[in-house]
């Protein structure tokens, strides 16, 4: 009796995971890219995220939307990964406010031409330099979520998220639109 109930529950867990993996697979891969620069470590992280998601569905009780749940679990897993990695390598992480206050190191090159590839690399480098709470907001914004939805995932008010996004937009505008001329 109990065994049949457990098997049914596991089947539900499998089914939910399969649906979510199909719907969010690409977003989760992008998320892993935001949290890990090394290709091998990134694949490990991505697998950890998928596994955590599958495990998490054993206790998903509908307290929030499936999308919010997926992003919470995935970002929490990625933040744990960052904490673990920081113990083994010294890497100073920063906040959006600090990044906004300092010049973009890539802008120093006079011949810098911001093509799409280069812009993507710089965007990724910027994201990977952020501490997990700010990184999560940036990634969710880039995934196209609204401030209220980001706030629900992060545990912040929409106002606080909007402030962060405003700061991010000004940093990105400075880095992408002014090309190699902004070295200040």
């Amino acid at each position: 009796m109990g065994g049949a109930k457990r098997a049914k529950s596991e089947a539900g867990q499998d089914e939910r995971y399969a649906r979510v993996a199909a719907a969010f697979g690409a977003a989760l891969e992008r998320l892993s890219r935001a949290y890990e620069a090394d290709a091998d470590q990134r694949l490990d992280l991505l697998q950890e995220i998928h596994f955590s998601l599958w495990r998490s569905f054993a206790q998903y009780d509908g307290r929030c939307s499936e999308r919010t749940w997926v992003y919470r679990v995935a970002h929490n897993m990625a933040a744990s990964h960052v904490l673990r990695r920081r113990r083994s390598r010294s890497q100073a992480l920063t906040t959006l406010d600090e990044i906004a206050a300092r010049p973009d190191p890539a802008q120093a090159s006079p011949e810098a031409q911001v093509g799409e590839r280069q812009a993507f690399d710089r965007l990724t480098a910027l994201i990977q330099a952020l501490a997990p709470p700010d990184r999560q907001i940036v990634v969710l914004y880039l995934e196209g979520l609204e401030a209220a939805a980001i706030g629900e995932v992060c545990g912040l008010t929409p106002g606080a998220v909007a402030t962060k996004i405003h700061r991010l937009k000004s940093v990105l505008a400075r880095r992408f639109e002014q090309g190699g001329q902004d070295a200040s």
Partner: protein
């Protein structure tokens, strides 16, 4: 022709990334679940094995017939080893888990606080338990058990040296952990 910087929409740029990996299949996930369980079992087995080896190492002192101090010291170190192993297990396996679906700010803060508290209180749960046993062991060696192949003066000098090294090691462990706790506190304050 490369896109003009002003044309670049960060959201489009981010979402246009090509995917490299297929999602994991259910069979692979189940296999990973089995590996995960095996890893937890292995980790526990390693902890217990480490504990047993440490106890076996101190057992001769606990069975030393000529010195009640060394016997008591050895017994206390064995108790301390078991206590510290339990604390390590409790502190590394407890806490928040990503799978709980908590918002990141709370999860991240809780994780940093958990790590900070573990480092900050290292003197209480990691160092202090060994102090009575080690003190009794050294006192037993000093007063009740001498090495027969060297003079008493040399023997005492060696015991004193061991005591000084032990104190220094404890001090370094404590200092490193306090520094780690301070750095974690800074990150908590930044949240």
């Amino acid at each position: 022709m490369p896109a003009e910087p002003s044309d670049l929409d960060p959201q489009k740029l981010w979402q246009s990334q090509t995917t490299e990996y297929d999602p994991m299949t259910i069979a692979v996930i189940h296999e990973k679940a089995r590996t995960f369980q095996a890893r937890i079992w292995r980790r526990n087995a390693m902890e217990y094995a480490g504990c047993v080896i440490a106890i076996l190492g101190i057992l001769p002192a606990a069975l030393h017939r000529g010195s009640w101090m060394m016997q008591s010291g050895g017994a206390l170190i064995i108790i301390a080893t078991i206590f510290v192993a339990w604390q390590l297990h409790r502190r590394t396996s407890g806490g928040t888990v990503p799978e709980a679906g908590e918002p990141l700010v709370g999860f991240y803060r809780a994780e940093l606080i958990r790590q900070r508290d573990a480092l900050r209180s290292v003197s209480v749960w990691y160092l202090a338990p060994f102090v009575p046993g080690m003190a009794l062991l050294l006192l037993g060696r000093w007063f009740q058990s001498h090495a027969t192949h060297r003079s008493l003066g040399t023997d005492h000098l060696i015991i004193a040296l061991v005591a000084v090294i032990a104190v220094l090691v404890f001090l370094v462990i404590w200092l490193l952990n306090q520094r780690g706790a301070q750095s974690l506190q800074q990150r908590i304050d930044e949240l």
